[in-house]
Amino acid sequence: MKPILEKNAAITGLGQSAVGRRLPASPLELTLDACLEAIADAGLRREDIDGLATYPGAGFGGGGFSGAGITDVQDALRLELDWFCGGPETSGQLGSVINACMAVASGLANHVLCFRTVFEASAQGAGRRAGIGAGGGPGFRASGFLQWTLPFGAASAANWIALFAQAHFHAYGTTREQLAWIALNARRNAARNPKAIFRDPLTLADYLSARMISTPLGLYDCDVPVDGSTAFVVSRAELARDLRRPRVRVEAVGSALHGRPSWDQFDDLTTMALRDASSMLWQRTDLRPADVDVAELYDGFSFIALAWLEALGFCKQGEGGPFVAGGARIALDGEIPLNTHGGQLSAGRLHGYGFLHEAVVQLRGEGGERQVPGSPEVAIAAAGGGPLGGCLLLTRA
């Protein structure tokens, strides 16, 4: 049995900048807004921050994918760091937070500031999504993983995830009418979230009649790019007792990558790397899926949330379609409230960090109109699709 060090980590501070379709602030300004809010929320001073973590780090990806990196923040705040880590090669966006949990648990740092900034709405312009690597210009040649997809016009994660979704539809009889409820539930919750991007009601008819992006995924299966930054303070649990905010403790994490690390070579095309991250998480806790009061699961594309629901055991593999159909089970008052802030589909693509933020908000009882009733004690936050997947199980201490 491996030691379960993450139980010594707590999330003690939350911060989030303005979130919008095209904000006047620079990505670094948004980042610092979120970071300073998180530090203040924890009741700490910046001198207390001795660790820094981010995903995916500066300079990775174009199109506003990475709004700020480690050294940007370290220098702007003149932080004195004993530990830091930023990069894309980890267990999805929340891999950076999992790393921070381990840094505090192992004694490399006391309080790690974690941040994720996106600037995709401004960078990509109104109403357009960029193909990954598609803007290389004359003579550009694809290398690495993209050489296997770009020559065939598979230039977006929309295509890569659509291939998984189609395989799931074929294997299990899943339908668009079922998958729709991931998007409809998100919109229903977003109506109660003042920071959400899309808050107007969305009907099944709207969903089904929207233009197709990459079958079986239509417009409302795809998240909405935004500008914004989210930050957390992760502290060693023994230090968290003295801080001002309600304690949210990390119970277990999942960070596995067992299958082949690409979008088209994975052994089972009806699920993804998140399968093994989920399985790992449940091996590190005595809690079970039935103990979870609220689930915040990555919906960069609707199908990914369905895959997380199955992988985490809220329903069986292949039963995600019937499970979400009608939206009752995943509603705020349902058996497993899902994406209570509106997810990335309606609240905006804060890229993974938004789910963990909302999980902590719910455990603190600060959800306002969207608060899950009954004072939730256990929440799960999960992010990533394809070869990326990381998840954290949280409890109110």
Partner: protein, 138 residues
């Protein structure tokens, strides 16, 4: 070549040229481990099964089965207009030996998972993209 649409092409290197240029010989080629006969894709200098370094390209039959597909309707790459069919196909030579490709010679609405297809090459200079077309029923 003049009939071929614009494509973003791969950077051809010694490690992958067997794959991208096999079409010049009308062959779809993958690396294969000489000692244990494992097919290896994407290319790697070490066999992932037996860890031997004795790997070399070999041709496969060119037959394949559609594992999954999507009809793309969004313009991602200027000059490469939708709709087009993206598929992951698996080769009968080995479970898990597969690639992302385009299905051609078939209307998007007629594509089905599990259908049998065969490689056809689309030449762009020194690169031969392996696309797949339906095997017509006898």
């Amino acid at each position: 070549m003049s009939d071929a649409p614009f494509r973003i092409l791969p950077e051809v290197t010694p490690a992958n040229e067997h794959f991208w240029r096999g079409g010049a010989h009308d062959e779809l080629r993958f690396l294969r481990c000489r000692p244990c006969r494992e097919w290896i894709h994407p290319p790697s200098p070490v066999c992932p099964r037996c860890l031997a370094k004795d790997v070399a390209p070999e041709a496969v039959s060119g037959r394949a089965r559609v594992l999954t597909f999507t009809v793309n309707h969004q313009l991602w790459i200027p000059g490469f207009p939708p709709p087009y069919v993206i598929a992951i196909v698996e080769l009968p030579e080995q479970v898990g030996l597969r690639l992302t490709t385009n299905l051609v010679g078939i209307a998007p609405e007629d594509v089905r998972i599990d259908m049998d297809v065969r490689v056809v090459f689309e030449q762009h200079g020194d690169v031969y993209l392996p696309l797949f077309a339906p095997v017509t029923s006898p």
